[in-house]
Amino acid sequence: MNLTAYIYLATLLFAIGALVVLLRRNTIIVFMGVELMLNACNLALITFARMHGSLDGQVYVLFVMVVAAAEVVVGLAIIMSIYRARRSASVDDANLLKL
């Protein structure tokens, strides 16, 4: 199977993730969209590594996974603290700061 197909798949996943971030209201789901974008990057990295015949891309994936995990820790902590204060995880309810 043509490797380019995986690149298209990764781009599609990235676009879906970006749309999730822009369209969904629940912060947890928005955050999942971000994670989907990062994992789309991982898929593209592995595919490019195969195309170039080098290991670099696979090593990069490990780094990206670690960074994504660190981001989850900080992100869930922030979302949790907001949820406990307001009993809501909707981005529309976080509207105290307005123009």
């Binding site: 970006a18 990057c41 670099d56 907001i82």
Partner: protein
């Protein structure tokens, strides 16, 4: 097989010092009794930052080169940006440590995990909870900021971006007063920051697909010679630019700036406004000047448009603001546009004027926010313009310092703002971007209006309010005075630092 990379530890000594200081700070949080933490953490942080600054000037400068398997470049621009970040973070940290007579830094909550207004929060205050976790967080963030402009590899740049951002997301949620606002700012900053760093990563991946490596020198070589997947090049560059433009708060990626700047603890806002901008523009310089310079006909027009829109939108929206922190936030957006004007001029003059502008901007921003933090009404910060009316009579020194900084923001001669703007506009004109310089001058004129209006309110406004200016300790006083003096100094005698920036503006490729 992998070769063991050679690492020039002397060249990256400043980075090692800062990260080690941050980790020791984490240990102190765990082991030291809470009554001794505030002083210990403050001293540890200041000593760490000063030691790192000394290491930049006396050690790393003599060990320039590309090290760590081509991932880290220590050259003139890197060292200048690192030194600048360190100096700014020292005065930023002093302002953050302001205790106002208490035992802990005043701006931060004593129980970040508790629900605002809850019993747990009251208990934490009664039992003397500390707010010292901000020191290690700041140090780790500074470490990321120093690594950001030094990275010669897009993966390292991505990691540095996250290392500098993650502590800032937490810091902006830790305000003592108006905690719901602060938490909301933290959430917005985090979600949009994570979103934009995903774009940055996808851009890096596309350039990896194009060049077969994330190293900037390999990418620079591939441009023009590699024709197999050249459709990936321009989208990759633009996605990387999205991530970086978000960090500096350029239009159209600016929507987080006012909310986060307003909600975050004021002194943290000053720190992140100055230092993040310096680091992110440093990284942008390296990416655009070293990595993808050969493809500049593709990205330069886009960035020029972004710079123009940023200046116009930042300036126009500044006018309609009624909150001092939001005025400073929108003005920081406009300033990002001015810096971009210098940056897209390219050549050595582009790099040197950009770095000079960052110096000027950083040293006026941190003192300005430190002063905003001192204006109080009923115990919490008074940031609405009407609450600032007539402060000139009650707090003459504070009003004088703030007015002077506003004049510097506006770019009045004899302040660093004027020299900085002159440098970037001259660079733009010399490299066929005269139209951008014209827009820049008009935008400065527009922003000058709101600054003068604010000064008039300060001195001639109606005084019927209960706003007071609290007396700062030596920490804030030092931060403000040094910032004001540097702003004045760069305005009166800019030649030595302009020369320094010009001499430093040589990238190792």
């Amino acid at each position: 097989m992998f070769d063991v990379p050679e690492i020039d530890y002397l060249a990256i000594l400043p980075l090692i010092i800062v990260f080690a200081g941050g980790l020791i700070g984490c240990l102190l949080e765990g082991f030291l009794h809470r009554s001794r933490r505030p002083n210990a953490q403050l001293w540890l942080s200041i000593v760490t930052l000063v030691a790192a600054l000394v290491a930049v000037v006396w050690v790393a400068r003599d060990n320039q080169g590309i090290t760590a398997a081509g991932a880290v470049t220590i050259d003139g621009p890197t060292l200048l940006i690192q030194g600048l970040v360190l100096m700014l973070s020292i005065i930023g940290l002093l302002a953050m440590s302001e205790r106002l007579g208490g035992t802990n830094p005043d701006a931060f909550t004593q129980a970040g995990v508790s629900v605002p207004g809850s019993v747990e929060e009251a208990d934490a205050v009664r039992l003397g909870g500390t707010t010292t976790e901000v020191y290690p967080l700041t140090l780790l963030s500074v470490g990321g900021m120093m690594l950001f402009p030094a990275s010669n590899d897009l993966l390292l740049m991505f990691i540095a971006l996250e290392v500098l951002s993650l502590p800032l997301y937490v810091l902006s949620g830790l305000a003592r007063r108006r905690r719901l606002l602060s938490q909301e700012a933290s959430l917005k900053y985090f979600l949009l920051g994570a979103f934009s760093s995903a774009f940055f990563l996808f851009g890096a991946v596309l350039l990896y697909g194009y060049a077969g490596s994330m190293r900037l020198d390999v990418i620079a070589e591939a441009i023009g010679t590699q024709t197999v997947m050249d459709g990936l090049l321009v989208p990759g560059i633009l996605l990387l630019a999205v991530g970086l433009l978000f960090k500096v708060g350029a239009v159209p990626f600016h929507s987080w700036v006012p909310d986060v700047y307003q909600g975050a603890p004021t002194t943290v806002t000053g720190f992140m406004a100055a230092c993040t901008k310096v680091a992110a523009f440093g990284a942008m310089l390296r990416l655009l000047y070293v990595g993808v310079e050969a493809a500049r006909l593709d990205w330069q027009p886009v960035l020029a448009a972004v710079a123009a829109v940023t200046m116009v939108v930042g300036a126009v929206l500044t006018i309609v603001q009624t909150d001092v922190k939001r005025i400073l936030a929108y003005s920081s957006i406009a300033h990002a546009g001015f810096v971009l004007t210098g940056l897209i001029a390219m050549q050595q003059v582009g790099a040197s004027s950009t770095m000079f502008y960052l110096m000027a901007y950083g040293f006026m921003t941190i003192p300005a926010f430190a002063l905003v933090a001192l204006v109080r009404s009923a115990g919490s910060e008074a940031t609405h313009i009407s609450q600032w009316a007539g402060l000139g009579q009650r707090a003459p020194w504070m009003a004088a310092a703030f007015s002077f900084l506003l004049l510097a923001f506006a770019g009045i001669p004899l302040t660093s703002g004027f020299t900085g703007k002159f440098a970037v506009f001259a660079a733009a004109i010399a490299n066929d971007y005269a139209w951008l310089a014209v827009i820049g001058v008009l935008a400065s004129a527009v922003t000058a209006y709101i600054y003068f209006k604010l000064i008039v309110t300060l001195y001639f406004g109606d005084r019927k309010n209960d706003t007071v200016v609290v007396t700062p300790s030596a920490l804030t006083t030092f931060a403000v005075v040094s910032g004001v003096l540097i702003t004045l100094g760069l305005g009166i005698a800019p030649a030595p630092l302009l020369d320094l920036a010009a001499n430093a503006a040589h990238f190792l490729r």
